[in-house]
């Protein structure tokens, strides 16, 4: 009998081009996603060296980070963003890379359109100059973020130099209570193991609670694997995965589809396969989660009090916690629930898909946002925007007093003019609450779309179950 293998091992081993004792392995890359911010210097590198893109048909370009979301033209973008966007279009054009520009009906956030178009498939190796590439692991792919030098490597060679990471099985057991979502699961994991807890590992998420998630929820979960420092996060493909992919524009069709599914069914980890580490999380009694601090590992359940640095024995941790609370201007041991919120942002590659927008709309419907509240809802792709509009979600958002935008990263990274003002508090469905991430001096509470929508209505950090 052959040695039982994990999902990760199967993908890793089937993509090894070369192995050597004194260099990292050469790993073949199936799908390379590129966007405007982390690719310009890589394309310049190719140009300087006289190199081509080795497999342009395996390379997909979209603009999402620095684009405006107020309109589909660049009128409201600043001069530097325009220069970057124009350069990106030129680069894709010159190197023959398929490009989703402002006028493309299929444009959107890179990690949203990959799966939506069916580019993302089980068993693939997928990279992008963006740490949230981990999102695509939801399909049982090995997907991870790379730097710009590596973007150049993949463009030129369709391969990467990689040291083999370790594996960690993350088992989520139990059933989620109503009002508790995949976002709360991943925030709970991040709170449990901390922002560096996954460094050096690839996570495989398993267990009853994972099997119960739909693909959009699995993407939310895998998306924030990087927030624990994990190289990647993955979920074994199953019928839920195949049902989602079937019929998507770039998914295999007809006989090729059947052959692909047969192959994909062999991907899940074998019985008895070994991991370097295992983490168990019980979600049965989990409440909606909210972060209080300045990294995504600083999260609590909504009914819990903000921790107190005095209770922290480790000096470095104590000082980190104090710094975070100072930046957030929060009182130790106070309740987060009920804390004033000025802005609510619903969007980003973590939570901007149909199920997220529907969840938010279920709370917003027939209600008005709190006095002085700014609510920004930004769909993850133009297809999602149109689908949501067909369902009337745009109207629900506008009637509630919110802003409804075109697709993009928007206030997740605040590069495009959508940002917090200094001192403002936001509840955001995005993935990072780092100092200034959503605008210089801005303060972010990360939460699920349900919690975000509920907080928009009350103007305070709110347990969404009270409005459901």
């Amino acid at each position: 009998m052959t040695q039982p293998k994990t999902l990760f091992e199967k993908i890793w081993e089937s993509h090894l081009v070369a192995e050597s004792d004194d260099a990292p392995s050469i790993l073949y890359i199936d799908l390379h996603l590129v966007h405007e911010v982390t690719s310009p210097q890589a394309f310049s590198g190719l140009r300087e060296k006289g190199l081509k893109v080795r497999r342009p048909e395996r390379t997909i370009g979209t603009m999402d980070h620095s684009i405006p979301t107020l309109s589909l033209d660049l009128e409201t973008a600043d001069a530097m963003a325009i220069q970057q966007l124009e350069q990106f279009e030129k680069n894709c054009d010159q190197f023959g890379v398929q490009f989703y520009g402002m006028d493309s009906p299929n444009r959107g956030i890179v990690h949203v359109i990959g799966p939506e178009q069916g580019f993302t498939q089980p068993g693939q190796t997928i990279v992008c100059g963006d740490s949230h590439t981990s999102t695509h692991g939801a399909f049982g792919a090995l997907a991870f973020g790379i730097g710009t030098s590596e973007v150049e490597h993949v463009l030129a060679s369709q391969s990467l130099l990689q040291n083999r990471p370790k594996t960690c099985l993350v088992k989520f057991e139990g059933k989620l209570q109503p009002g508790v979502t995949a976002k709360d699961m991943i925030l709970a994991l991040n709170a449990k193991i901390g922002i560096g807890g996954g460094t050096g590992y690839v996570f495989e998420y398993a267990g009853e609670a994972i099997r119960a998630l739909n693909m959009e929820e699995r993407m939310t979960l895998c998306n924030m694997s990087i927030e624990a420092g994990a190289r990647a996060g993955m979920v074994a493909p199953d019928d839920v995965t195949f049902d989602y992919l079937k019929g998507r524009p770039y998914a295999p069709q007809g006989e090729a589809w059947d052959a692909a599914v047969t192959k994909w069914r062999k991907l899940p980890s074998d019985k008895g396969a070994e991991y370097d580490k295992t983490i168990n999380v019980d979600v049965e009694n989990l409440e909606p989660m909210v972060t209080f601090g300045t990294n995504p590992g600083m999260g609590i359940q909504v009914s819990e009090a903000v921790p107190s640095p005095n209770n922290e024995r480790d000096a470095a941790k104590q000082s980190a916690l104090q710094k975070a609370l100072d930046y957030m201007d929060l009182v130790p041991a106070s309740n987060l629930k009920g804390h004033t919120v000025n802005v609510v942002f619903i969007g980003s590659c973590t939570n901007s898909r149909m199920s997220d927008l529907r969840a938010a709309a279920s709370i917003l419907k027939g209600r008005k946002v709190a006095e002085g509240m700014r609510l920004l809802v930004v769909p993850g792709s133009e297809n999602i925007r149109k689908e949501a509009e067909a369902e009337g979600i745009d109207k629900i958002v506008r009637d509630a007093g919110g802003e409804w935008r075109f697709a993009g990263c928007s206030m997740c990274i605040a590069m495009n003019g959508d940002n917090l003002e200094p001192g403002q508090y936001a509840v955001s469905t995005s993935n990072r609450n780092f100092e200034g991430r959503q605008g210089k001096g801005g303060r972010t509470f990360l939460a699920s779309p349900l919690t975000a929508a509920a907080s928009a209505i009350t103007g305070k950090v709110t347990d969404p179950r009270e409005l459901m």
Binding site: E152, S159, T199, R231, M415, P422
Partner: protein, 195 residues
Amino acid sequence: MKSFTKLTSKIIPLPNTDVDTDQIIPARYLKVIDKSGLAEGLFDSWRRLEDGSPNPDFPLNQDEYQGAQVLLAGDNFGCGSSREHAPWALMGWGINVVISTSFADIFRGNALKNGLLPIVVSEEIQTSLFDLSEEAPTATVDINLETQTLTLPDGTQVSFEIDTFSKTCMLEGIDQLGYLLKHDEQIAAFEEARA
């Protein structure tokens, strides 16, 4: 890539843990299409006060650290985004070594590909280096990549790990892409076999 062999430098202390790449270089500086000018944005929010003037309490603004090439940071340096602008900004300012107890994976890889040396030390050494930088801010350390040693002012030698491949690339200033392209035939054979 710039080659790195050894250096002698003062240490800039940055005791924060989990320094994320949004702090190293905020997103508003990422609209550039080349690698230059990023030093301007290095630690922007910590380095400048609200009115844009230099924050006198931040080490990069203090006279004694000008010209220093070694940054000493708290645990888990470089977490967050994959932006290679982070090592570009650090190196643009003049930093060639970062010392911490741990680095985020992507940052570490990005640093090594640019000739910025990430050195992992034990908590003990980290603490003594922080103490040193407080007691004697002008004291210098020696870093030698060839021998993989960090020498403290009192002569204590601390060895550090680096994989052979990255070490060779850094010592000789070799771009790793060259190595990959040398495997062109194997890559083609791999593609062929799967087609």
